[in-house]
């Protein structure tokens, strides 16, 4: 392992396709920072992303990067982890990718608790398709398909994750990359499924939830006296409290990971198994049919 890594070690040569000022730059910066500080080796990182402006992030992190289809990053990542438990698996995607088309997989990834980190880059809109409402857009948000305003109440991805049995839940803000990097690091270190939702403004389309708006509308859990990350009910109350948006780590719990339950521990990664020659033991399976 390289002894001292810097965020640059995780940069790719590909120029980014984001608009100037896009919140996603902050996410990328924090992610590189976290990877460097965790001392991850690029070739041992599998970085799976969804489709959207956010999803393009996989092109900018030096790693084994996988840019699949819209909404399916989590099942892909779950399998990558099962296939090779030596890898650090990180997933990133948008609010539409994760909470609209991917909502079912989200719940099931959470309940399975594979050891991976999921970063939801939430800009409360569909950036790449030009500003339609997303599942986190506010009621009344005006957009192409909703000229009269969004009629669908926004969903609270983290509260749903909590209800579905998530073991690590955090929220960060793109303008606070340091804290974000810390949360990502915690999530990666967490032995289980860690979700970090990032408020990541879309400067081009979302004229409501701007940097300014967020700055006025967030607060930090650290400022709540006596907040206990092990208290599931308190976490729910905090997450669903109307009003300002809390940032920080909401909940944390250790339970067996999917890999532990399915593969046990101490076995070589499946991807490393020698399969080139047929295991002669297999022949005996035929006896059951004789």
């Amino acid at each position: 392992m390289a002894t001292t890594l810097t965020p640059k070690d995780f940069a790719t040569a590909t120029p980014s396709w984001w608009c100037a000022g896009c919140g996603d730059f902050g996410v990328l910066a924090a992610l590189k920072q976290a990877c460097a500080e965790l001392g991850l080796e690029p070739h041992k990182v599998a970085f799976i992303s969804g489709i959207g402006c956010s999803g393009k992030i996989s092109g900018y992190l030096h790693s084994y990067a996988f840019h699949g289809v819209h909404g399916r990053a989590l099942p892909t990542a779950t399998a990558v982890k099962l296939a090779n438990t030596d890898l650090t698996v990180i997933v990133a995607g948008g609010d539409g990718d994760g909470y609209a088309i991917g909502a079912g997989h989200f719940i099931h990834a959470v309940r399975r608790n594979p050891d991976m980190t999921y970063i939801v880059m939430d800009n409360q809109t569909y950036g790449l398709t030009k500003g339609q409402s997303s599942p986190t857009s506010m009621l009344g948000y005006k957009a192409g398909p909703h000229p009269q305003g969004n009629p669908d109440a926004p969903i609270n991805g983290l509260a749903i994750a909590l209800a579905a049995g998530a073991t690590f839940i955090a929220r960060a803000f793109s303008s606070e990359p340091k804290q974000m990097a810390e949360m990502i690091k915690e999530a990666v270190r967490h032995p289980g499924f860690g979700i970090v939702e990032v408020l990541s403004p879309c400067v081009t389309f979302n004229k409501v939830n701007t940097y300014k708006w967020f700055k006025e509308n967030v607060y930090h859990l650290d400022d709540l006296p006596g907040y206990d990350v092990r208290d599931r009910v308190r976490a729910f109350a905090t997450l669903t409290q109307p009003g300002k948006i809390p940032l920080g780590i909401f909940y944390r719990e250790i339970r067996p990971t999917l890999e532990e339950l399915m593969l046990g521990t101490g076995r070589p990664p499946i991807a490393s198994l020698p399969i080139e020659t047929v295991d002669p033991g297999l022949a005996a399976l035929q006896d059951a049919y004789a």
Binding site: T12, T14, P42, H43, K44, V45, A46, I48, I51, K56, S58, G59, H62, S63, Y64, A65, F66, H67, G68, V69, G71, R72, P75, T76, A77, T78, A79, V80, L82, A83, N84, D86, L87, G104, H105, I107, H108, M262, L263, R267, P268, P269, I270, A271, S272, L273, I275, E276, T277, V278, D279, P280, G281, L282, A283, L285, Q286, Y289, A290
Partner: protein, 588 residues
């Protein structure tokens, strides 16, 4: 007296144990050295509804049903009414007339009924409904000459884990059945089995052969979502793969299943999924992703009767278009289809090698009448299994900056690294990209990349399973079919041959890329070509016509009522076309 040639239909209501007993009969026949084919016809519900299990046994292998049933064991009137028309003149029915009375519609002068008070005997045996099945097994065995030791041995084995008492009960039931026949009937059934050496053979279901083939080919990851008739494979793999270091995930739906399969394959594990129509439909987008990422995956499609939910437990060949053509945009893909259980094993192995060698998605297309049917077959040769991982790089040796995951190559296949390999990092994007994996919409690169990917279809030609040619290559009468129709068409050939009519039969085993050359050559000399398929629109026929044109002598023989072909139905179609056919090729 018909010796060593019988087709038994065992039927009643779903959930009453007919399927279990059917399995047992099939195994008895196999152990008696006969060649066996079984077919399950059950409803899409758990209990109730007519179900039946047909077991065909003989000295020659048949990969499908015969036209007529010789012996029927019927647990209710519905069964007799539904199937009396299928009985061979001279055949017989075992029925308990004390429960339901046989109606006139359920009788035929040329079919004898052995009236056995199964329920009554069962009650005396203190047993459950299941004992009734075992009694009937005794009755049947006594009538047709099943080997008593084999029957007792298998019954004992079957009930062993339920304890000695249950074993004794069932052995008693067998004996009661046998005794009842000896004491009440002296009319011979007309059928006699004679045990032959079993030999080193297996009796295996198509789906099990696929699971086994996958494991042998090194598949160590499977993701699937339960769906009839594919669930067997998921369950088989779940049972066996862990011992060999593999794992099986029951996904939340088929969208997850296909993307998991891709994920595992991307990470370097041979991976597959198995599904049927509705699930296959949901996998459409994922297949395209595998195509453009050049990720090797195997997708088993166990076809059933559509459209939509259709008839989930019935057979059909109507997903051919779907596996070949579904999906936006164009990718190289392979579709191969076994025609027997034995082939299901070997083609599964081939599927994994093709997938990995050419880095493409490969479909293994099968169907309910094959994948849930059992057949006898010789031991499968693990020695014949080779694992060719193609241009996979697992152990380094590539240099970052030089290495290009999607390098343009002559055969279209590029070196493939997997996560963990030093120096091989790259972006694998579902968007169009350059040789290094960088997303680009450049026009020239696009055309070149499409060419590169599609070139694989040519490069792989020599590795694709060739069609099997049966019969006389010069014959004027020709058949083309795939999958489960391998059996009935071969049988039609036998019948034609027996009346002096030569024929030839091309069983397609690769359906995509379509074997244009083979088909064109095959059709060329033929006077009449019958395309036999289980669907309404002639999907195979359209593929053929695109190659041969609308040859007037191309005749579609189609069936789409959810049931597999009987040879007589194909013969019928032939007869209608060929007024000159010699008499005597009737159903048998």
């Amino acid at each position: 007296m018909i010796v060593n040639n019988i087709q038994v239909l065992f039927g009643g209501q779903a959930g009453d144990g007919s399927l279990t007993t059917g399995d047992l009969i099939a195994l008895v026949f196999k152990r008696m050295g006969l060649e066996v084919y079984t077919f399950k016809d059950f409803p899409s519900r758990i209990r109730g509804g007519h179900t039946n299990y047909v077991i065909r046994a003989g000295e020659q292998p048949h990969y499908g049903l015969g036209d007529m049933v010789d012996a029927m064991v019927a647990f209710d009137l519905e069964c007799v009414e539904k199937h009396i028309a299928e009985m061979r003149p001279g055949g017989f029915v075992i029925f308990d007339n004390s429960q339901e009375k046989l109606t006139d519609a359920a009788r035929r002068p040329d079919v004898y009924v052995y009236d056995v008070p199964l329920a009554d005997i069962a009650k005396k045996q203190l047993g459950l409904e299941l004992v009734r099945n075992t009694i009937s097994l005794g009755v049947l065995g006594e009538l047709i000459g099943m080997d008593k030791e084999i029957v007792r041995g298998l019954v004992t084995k079957q009930y062993e884990r339920k304890g000695e008492k249950v074993v004794a009960q069932n052995i008693g039931a067998i004996e009661a059945g046998e005794r009842y026949v000896r004491e009440h009937f002296d009319r011979p059934s007309g059928y006699a089995l004679r045990a032959r050496p079993d030999g080193d053979r297996l009796l295996m279901m198509g789906n099990d052969a696929i699971g086994y083939g996958a494991l042998a080919a090194g598949c160590r990851f499977m993701a699937g979502y339960p769906i009839t008739p594919a669930t067997d494979i998921l369950e088989w793999m779940a049972k066996h793969a862990p011992r060999y270091g593999g794992t099986v995930v029951q996904a939340e739906d088929e969208l997850a299943a296909i993307n998991m399969t891709i994920g595992a394959a991307y990470a370097g594990v041979r991976a597959m999924t198995a599904t049927s129509g509705p699930g296959q439909a949901l996998m459409t987008e994922g297949i395209g992703l595998a195509g453009v990422l050049e990720t090797p995956i195997v997708v088993v499609e166990c076809a059933r009767a559509g459209p939509s939910t259709g008839m989930p437990t019935k057979t059909e060949q109507s997903n051919l278009n779907h596996v070949i053509f579904a999906g936006h945009g164009e990718i190289p893909r392979v579709v191969i289809a076994p025609g027997t259980v034995e082939e299901s094993f070997y083609l599964t192995v081939a599927a994994f090698n093709l997938a990995e060698k050419y880095q493409v998605p490969v479909f293994l297309l099968t169907e309910q009448a094959l994948c849930q049917s059992k057949e006898t077959l010789p031991r499968l040769e693990l020695g014949a299994v080779t694992v060719d991982r193609g241009k996979l790089v697992r152990n380094g040796g590539v240099t970052f900056g030089e290495y290009k995951r999607f390098a343009f190559t002559e055969d279209g296949v590029s070196l493939r690294t997997v996560p963990g390999v030093e120096g091989g990092m790259h972006l694998a994007p579902g968007s169009e990209h350059n040789d290094a994996g960088v997303i680009t919409e450049d026009a020239a690169n696009r055309a070149r990349m499409m060419d590169k990917r599609m070139r694989k279809l040519d490069a792989m030609r020599a590795d694709l399973p060739r069609p099997s040619l049966f019969g006389e290559p010069e014959a004027g009468m020709a058949f083309i079919a795939f999958g489960a129709n391998r059996g009935p068409v071969s049988e039609v050939q036998d019948r034609l041959r027996s009346v002096g009519v030569a024929s030839k039969f091309l069983q397609l085993r690769t359906l995509w890329p379509f074997p244009e050359g083979d088909v064109r050559a095959f059709v060329a000399g033929a006077e009449h070509v019958f395309v036999v398929e289980n669907n309404i629109s002639g999907q195979l026929e359209r593929l053929i016509r695109a190659v041969t044109g609308p040859v007037p002598s191309l005749h579609g023989v189609r069936k789409y009522n959810g049931r597999p072909f009987r040879p007589a139905e194909i013969l019928d179609a032939v007869t209608r076309r060929m007024a000159t056919l010699p008499a005597g090729v009737a159903a048998r």
